[in-house]
Amino acid sequence: MSVIEIRGLRKSYRVYQKKEGLLASFRGLLHREYRDVHAVKGIDLDVQKGEFVAFLGPNGAGKTTTLKLLSGVITPTAGDARVLGYVPWERNNDYRRRFALVMGQKNQLWWDLPAQESFQLHQKIYHVDPVAFKRTKDELVDLLNVGKLLGQPVRELSLGERMKMELIAALLHSPEVLFLDEPTIGLDVVAQHNIQKFLKHYQQVRGITILLTSHYMKDVAALCKRVVIIAGGEIVHDGSLEGVIDRFSDYKVLTLDFAGDKMPGDLARFGEVLEIAPPRARIEVDRTRIASVLSTVLADYAIQDVSVEDPPLEDVIASLFALTERRAELSDRDAKQAAVAAAPAPSP
C-alpha cells in the first residue's frame, strides 16, 4: 500500500493584479482585477514506504503548493490525497503526530529561547515517551554535531545551525513521513553537504518516507533515486534521475584529444563546438548520430583519447524547465484565446 496517494489534486488561487503606478493604485481602490492561478492541475502520484523522492520544478511550478496540500496547510480546490491513510487537510492530530514538514528558513523554533526548550515542548506536544525522546534527541544532536549550541538562543545561531535545529525539532517525534521544502536553501557548501549526509544516513537507518524539493541538483543526486518533475502544475516526469537525462537530453558531449597540435577546422560538421583548447575539443553531438560521428572521427583524424558523456544534469533540467514553461505559456495563451472566441458577440 502506498504511503502517499494523490489523485487528481488541484489547487487554484485568485490573485490580485495591480498595474504599475500611483494612478493604478487609486483605481485599485474602486476596481480590482484578479487572475486565476492554477498552481496544481490535477496531479496523480503514489509514493511507497521508505522512498526518498525528489520533487523538482522551476519556481512557481507547484512543488511547495503540493507539499502544503500534503501537510494540511492548505485545502485543495479539487481532488483527493491520502498520507498514511489520512486526508491531510482534515488536520487530524493522529496524522499530525506522524509526519513533519521542514521549510527552509521558516522557523518552527522559539526565536528568543534556546532550541533545547523548543525540543522539550515538542516532546509534550507530540506525546513522546521521555526515554525515547532523550535517546532520539541525543542521537540527532550527535549526528548533526550541535551539542554545544543547545543552550544558545535560536536568534544567535547561524542559518546552517538553525536548519540543523529545525531538522532535530522535526524528527524528535520520529515521523514516518517527512516533507522537506528546500532544506538547504541559502546554506554554504559545507552546511549543504552536512545536511545531505545526515538526511541520507537518517533515511537509510529509519526507513522513513521523504519528499524533498530542492533547486540544488547535488542534493537530489546525492539523496534521491526517484525524481518527480512538476512544471506548470503538472507532472512531466516520474522516474529515475538517469531517466531524466535519457528522456530529455537529445545530445551527448564528445571530447576529443588530437594526437598532434594541429586541430582540424571542420569539426562543426559533427555538431555544435563547445570548446577548442588544443589538443582538445568538445563537441555537442546529436544522440542519434553519436555512433556514426565517432567512427568518422576515428577514421579521419589521429586521436589520442576520446570520451562520450551525458550533458551536466543542471543543463538538462534547466532546458527542460525552460521548455515546460514555454509550453505552459502557450497553453495559457490558447486558453485565453478560446475564452475570447467563446464569449458572446456584443449586440449591434
Partner: protein, 271 residues
C-alpha cells in the same frame, strides 16, 4: 487529560521564559505604565477646580481618581498588547503554518501565551501597583461589600477573557484582509472612548450613554471599576455580570469560527 495539561503547562513555562528574555524592555514597559497616573490626578484636580462644584455626574474628584486607578487594574487584565497585530502578522508572514502542522490548537496556544505574559507582568507590576494604591489610598471610599468585591474579581477574570477573544477575533480577520492595522486603529479609537478608559461613562450624554451601554467595550475598563466603587445598582450587578459572561461566550464562538473558516481559506502566504 493529564497529557494535555502537561502540554499547556509547558507552553506556559515557555511563554514566561520568552517574556523574560528581553529584561530591559520588559522592566521599562512595566514601570512606565504608572507615569500617566500623576498626570491624570493633576488633570482631574484642574477640571474640578474650574467646574467649581464638588461633584460631576455623581463623581467627586476623589471618586474620579479612584475610578482611574481601578480602570488601570481592569486594563491590566483586559488589554492585549500586540495580540491582534501579532496574529495578523503571523498570517501574512506564513508563521501561522506551524499551527496547521503541529498537533496544537492555535487559540488555546494564544490564550496560554497571553496568560503567561500577564502572569509575568503582574509578578513585576504588583510592587509598583501596591505602592501607588498605598500612596493614593485617601482617594478611595474604602473596601466594597464582599458581594461587590466578588463581582469585581469575577469581572476582571471575565474581562480578561473578553479582551482576549475579542482581539484574537480581530487578528483572525487577517485571513481575509491581511493588513488589519486600520481595523485595529478603529477598534482602539472606540475602545479608548467607550470602554471608560479615559472617563466614567456617566460623563457621556444620552443617547450615546445608552448605546455604549449595549457594547461589550464597557466591560474592558468601566465595569470593574464601577463595581468596586458601588456605582452599579445592586439589582443590576449580577445581570451585568451575566451579560459580560454572554459576551465572552459570543466572542469565544466567533473566534473559533473565524479560525476554522480562515484555515479553510488560507493560501499559505509567505512561501
Amino acid at each position: 487529560m493529564l497529557a494535555r495539561a502537561a502540554i499547556w503547562w509547558s507552553i506556559l513555562e515557555m511563554c514566561i521564559a520568552e517574556r523574560l528574555a528581553y529584561r530591559g524592555d520588559f522592566v521599562l514597559g512595566t514601570t512606565m505604565r504608572f507615569l500617566p497616573i500623576v498626570t491624570q490626578i493633576f488633570l482631574w484636580t484642574a477640571v474640578f477646580a474650574s467646574a467649581g462644584s464638588g461633584k460631576m455626574v455623581g463623581f467627586t474628584r476623589n471618586d474620579i481618581v479612584a475610578y482611574y486607578l481601578l480602570t488601570m487594574i481592569a486594563r491590566a487584565f483586559t488589554s492585549m498588547p500586540s495580540l491582534a497585530g501579532g496574529v495578523a502578522r503571523q498570517i501574512r508572514d506564513g508563521e501561522i503554518k506551524k499551527f496547521f502542522i503541529q498537533p496544537i490548537d492555535l487559540i488555546g496556544f494564544l490564550l496560554i501565551a497571553r496568560i503567561g505574559h500577564k502572569l509575568v507582568y503582574y509578578g513585576v507590576a504588583i510592587g509598583p501597583f501596591a505602592l501607588v494604591f498605598f500612596l493614593c489610598r485617601g482617594y478611595f471610599p474604602g473596601w466594597p461589600p464582599a458581594e461587590y468585591f466578588a463581582a469585581f474579581l469575577l469581572s476582571l477574570v471575565l474581562g480578561f477573557l473578553l479582551g482576549f477573544f475579542l482581539e484574537a477575533s480581530l487578528g483572525l480577520m487577517g485571513f481575509w484582509i491581511l493588513e488589519v492595522s486600520s481595523l485595529l486603529f478603529v477598534y482602539m479609537l472606540f475602545n479608548f472612548f467607550f470602554s471608560g478608559h479615559m472617563f466614567p461613562l456617566e460623563v457621556l450624554p444620552d443617547p450615546w450613554r445608552t448605546w455604549v451601554g449595549w457594547l461589550p467595550l464597557k466591560y474592558l475598563a468601566y465595569f470593574p471599576a464601577a463595581v468596586f466603587l458601588e456605582k452599579i445598582p445592586h439589582d443590576q450587578l449580577w445581570r451585568d455580570v451575566l451579560i459580560l459572561a454572554a459576551w465572552v461566550v459570543f466572542f469565544m464562538i466567533l473566534c473559533r469560527r473565524l479560525m476554522h473558516a480562515g484555515f479553510r481559506r488560507y493560501s499559505g502566504y509567505g512561501g
